[in-house]
Subunit: 185 residues, 2 copies
């Protein structure tokens, strides 16, 4: 029989990053919910020092990926994106969607945008992030009446996540400079 | 009166990257449809050498951004994402969505996924990329019956874009290793 210490080692609750390890319903570590380092640490039962996880970009235009080898067609063997890459990619997309949303949308465009944001939370690859986002939407209705309303709503939603994970909050009066028009001189 | 040469200089048709410059309906260069270099080149009327566009990462965790200064809260003055950053972010999200889509989805989950992909093309920040994607969907129905169907459909859709922009195509038999499970040893 396994001791409690052995069991704990097999399913560590905290990763090398200091973050809580998130597991899927089947008890396996969730790849899209943890950093790559923490996921690999938990997959190895918390018993292997994660020295093999150091990011070393192979290609100039793949600075975000951890690569070990190339496959046919010249593609690098990039690992599936972790929770941080997914977060960064998704906010980039969402803020840009707001930046190109009509300034005076029709009722249909407003309904479509609400539906899009809802489905986004529903299908988000990190299940616990998506659940948080859906709860946020329930408590804070998506604002779609104008482009500025949507952009500000997203900025405030992003700040709620930033606050939760200890990141600096962004001044939402500057959202258009950051995501639409570029910075004033 | 302006000469033809002057007019052409003001609205260049080809950017410094060699790509066609994409304009919005109002005649202004489209920020989300061009590379940052080409956008800045076209905004300056094609008359300024784009020496100020060299990417120099300021922060270890912002390797993808062009930064010039910091604003309150420690945020760098990152420029709005260009067509390449948007493309990379969006494919990262979409392939990961497929990787976490149920293996045997319900009818509702299938209908929701079709709706999500449709709205994605509709609201995509680069209007001409979104239009291409919508036309692709019309000609090639989104496959949502299983996780593998969706993952392969997306991989093939991504390859259609890769082909168009001269990038290497990916072997879609490997989509799960790239986007879901990681590479086999």
């Amino acid at each position: 029989m396994k001791t409690e210490v052995e069991k704990k080692k097999e399913s560590p609750s905290v990763g090398v990053s200091g973050r809580k390890i998130i597991y899927d319903k089947d008890g396996k570590p969730c790849r899209t919910c943890n950093t790559l380092q923490d996921f690999q640490f938990a997959t190895q039962g918390g018993s292997v020092a994660p020295t093999f996880n150091v990011k070393k970009p192979l290609k100039k235009n793949h600075p975000d990926t951890t690569s070990t080898d190339t496959v046919a067609g010249g593609y690098t063997k990039d690992q599936p994106p972790d929770v941080e890459q997914l977060g960064k990619s998704s906010w980039t997309l969402l803020h840009s969607v707001a930046a190109t949303y009509p300034e005076t949308p029709t009722s249909k465009q407003q309904a479509d945008m609400k539906q899009f944001i809802l489905l986004f939370g529903n299908f988000y690859p990190c299940w616990f992030c998506g659940k948080d986002f859906q709860e946020y939407i329930e408590a804070n209705e998506v604002q779609t009446a104008t482009q500025d309303d949507l952009g500000k709503w997203l900025c405030i939603a992003h700040n709620a996540v930033n606050k939760k994970i200890g990141k600096a909050e962004f001044d939402c009066n500057l959202w258009k400079q950051r995501w639409k028009d570029g910075w004033e001189k």
